[in-house]
């Protein structure tokens, strides 16, 4: 029944928790639970959690994969700046294969652009110190997990007076995306599995409106199978009792108030953009961060002229519908044919946290050898 039960910590408790879920789930009801975080999505597929959940509990994959929600135009904007002869384009490895309209950063590197992989924003700053005659532009992505590190790096750049460094900021915030999902007429979500590592920074309070105003339970969850199953138990208890509160299953890592030092760094450097485009969700107001004027000398969007490219996704690709959970990955016309992890068309196929890549790696490869992929109902 469960593929990886032997690898679990406390397999007996896992089995007992799975039984409890079966007991708590009302057989006459269909549950749609959204895991907001891409890390959860990856773990759900890897552990085959769907195999142990009753059929009437459906897990909807949320927007919490930073690479996946970045609109293609931002990649093209960043690459346009990277083409300037003085610029070194620095980004995390995850960005390297993400396709822009005219190729990925890696493909641009192959034709001579100076593209460097860094593992930390502070290493992009170090690159600037090492190359005083060049300008290092760090292509920043990520939710609140990553944004504080960029903020602190900018604070260090300012304190040191480093002139040849800037950040092309694509940091996004998770709360407005959840609001957009709840406001979307084709989304019907009963409850949320809240993100783990984002919450180490923002804490649990920012989710309170989801429970209070939208009457949806939300449980901040860890990433182990037992964590996620326990979070589902907590959600089912709430749904059964008709309550809606914020609960924290991941207390061993997530403080209720978050990380004040990280929040201070973000407040020092960033402010909210009036609106920002999300792939699949469209423009969402106050959903992304930009660099404050006081750090303008390190803001690539002020230092350089940004083309402001807007690109519509390839027509046949249905990334948006998949991202919103309206379609399953296999229901996209390109899935597993034109679009594979080896040759991704859409971003959901690039990152291991993207639902298409996760589905492809754990479901499609398995079923491709045994039987044709089943078309799941929505």
């Amino acid at each position: 029944m469960m593929r990886f039960v032997d690898e679990f910590r406390d397999p007996e408790i896992v089995t007992r928790t799975a039984e409890e879920i079966r007991r708590l789930a009302d057989p006459d009801r269909h549950y749609r639970l959204m895991e907001v975080c891409g890390g959860h999505t990856h773990a759900i597929y890897r552990f085959g959690l769907k195999d142990i959940l009753p059929d009437n509990i459906e897990l909807i994959h949320g927007p919490g994969c930073p690479v996946c929600v970045l609109p293609m135009g931002r990649i093209d904007d960043g690459l346009a700046l990277g083409k300037r002869p003085e610029v070194i384009f620095a980004a995390f490895g995850d960005m390297m294969r993400v396709p822009g309209a005219h190729g990925s950063p890696l493909e641009h590197k192959a034709v001579g652009m100076d593209v460097r992989i860094v593992y930390s924003p502070s290493d992009a700053l170090k690159l600037a110190r090492m190359n005083p005659d060049r300008h290092v532009m760090f292509f920043a992505i990520g939710f609140e997990t990553t944004a504080p590190s960029t903020a602190l790096t900018l604070m260090r750049a300012k304190a040191e007076g480093i002139q040849n460094f800037s950040v092309f900021c694509n940091h996004v915030t998770i709360i407005p995306a959840i609001r957009a999902i709840l406001d979307s007429p084709d989304m019907r979500i009963d409850a949320f599995i809240g993100p783990g590592h984002v919450s180490t920074v923002i804490g649990c309070r920012p989710y309170e409106w989801i429970a209070r105003d939208e009457r949806r339970p939300i449980v901040v969850s860890g990433f182990e199978p037992l964590d996620m199953l326990q979070s589902i138990v907590m959600l089912l208890h709430q749904l059964r009792q008709g309550t809606a509160i914020v609960e924290n299953q991941y207390k061993r890592v997530v403080p209720w108030e978050g990380n004040p030092a990280a929040l201070r760094a973000m407040a020092e450097v960033f402010e909210l953009r009036p609106f920002f485009e999300w792939r699949g969700l469209g423009f969402i107001s106050q959903s992304a961060l930009r660099i404050k004027e006081s750090y303008g000398a390190w803001d690539a969007e002020r230092v350089f002229e940004v083309p402001g490219v807007r690109v519509t996704d390839p027509k046949a690709a249905q990334c948006g519908e998949v991202l919103k959970g309206v379609l399953k990955p296999v229901q996209c016309k390109l899935f597993g044919r034109e679009c594979t992890p080896e040759r991704p068309v859409g971003a959901l196929m690039v990152s291991s946290e993207g639902s298409c890549a996760a589905y492809y790696n754990y479901e499609h490869r398995k079923s491709a050898s045994a039987r044709p992929p089943a078309t799941a109902g929505v």
């Binding site: 891409g38 890897r46 930073p66 593992y119 590592h197 004040p260 291991s352």
Partner: protein, 90 residues
């Protein structure tokens, strides 16, 4: 992208108190402690590291579980590649 890598603090630099040497399964690299400045970890403490910054303190047991979790998810190699890459020394 959102890898959280467990590491043990080996040494907090004397001249730069917001930088520490951490060890992740035998590999030692410098990480930034600036995001934990309210409650700086000490040598021997375990932390979760994300993009070169210590994000939160965790217990030794949770560190071991997190490492095992990364291995099961097939992300242990990526995590070690990330750690080795810190400081542009790889």
């Amino acid at each position: 992208m959102c890898l959280a890598i467990p590491g043990q603090i080996v040494e907090v630099l004397r001249e730069q108190r917001d930088i520490a040497v951490v060890e992740v399964t035998g590999v030692r690299r410098r990480v930034d402690l600036g995001l934990l400045e309210d409650d700086l970890p000490k040598p021997g403490d375990w932390v979760l590291i994300h993009v070169g910054f210590a994000m939160s303190k965790i217990s030794e047991q949770d560190a071991a579980e997190q490492m095992r979790m990364l291995a099961i998810l097939g992300e242990a190699d990526a995590a070690m590649e990330e750690v080795r890459g810190y400081g542009l020394e790889a």
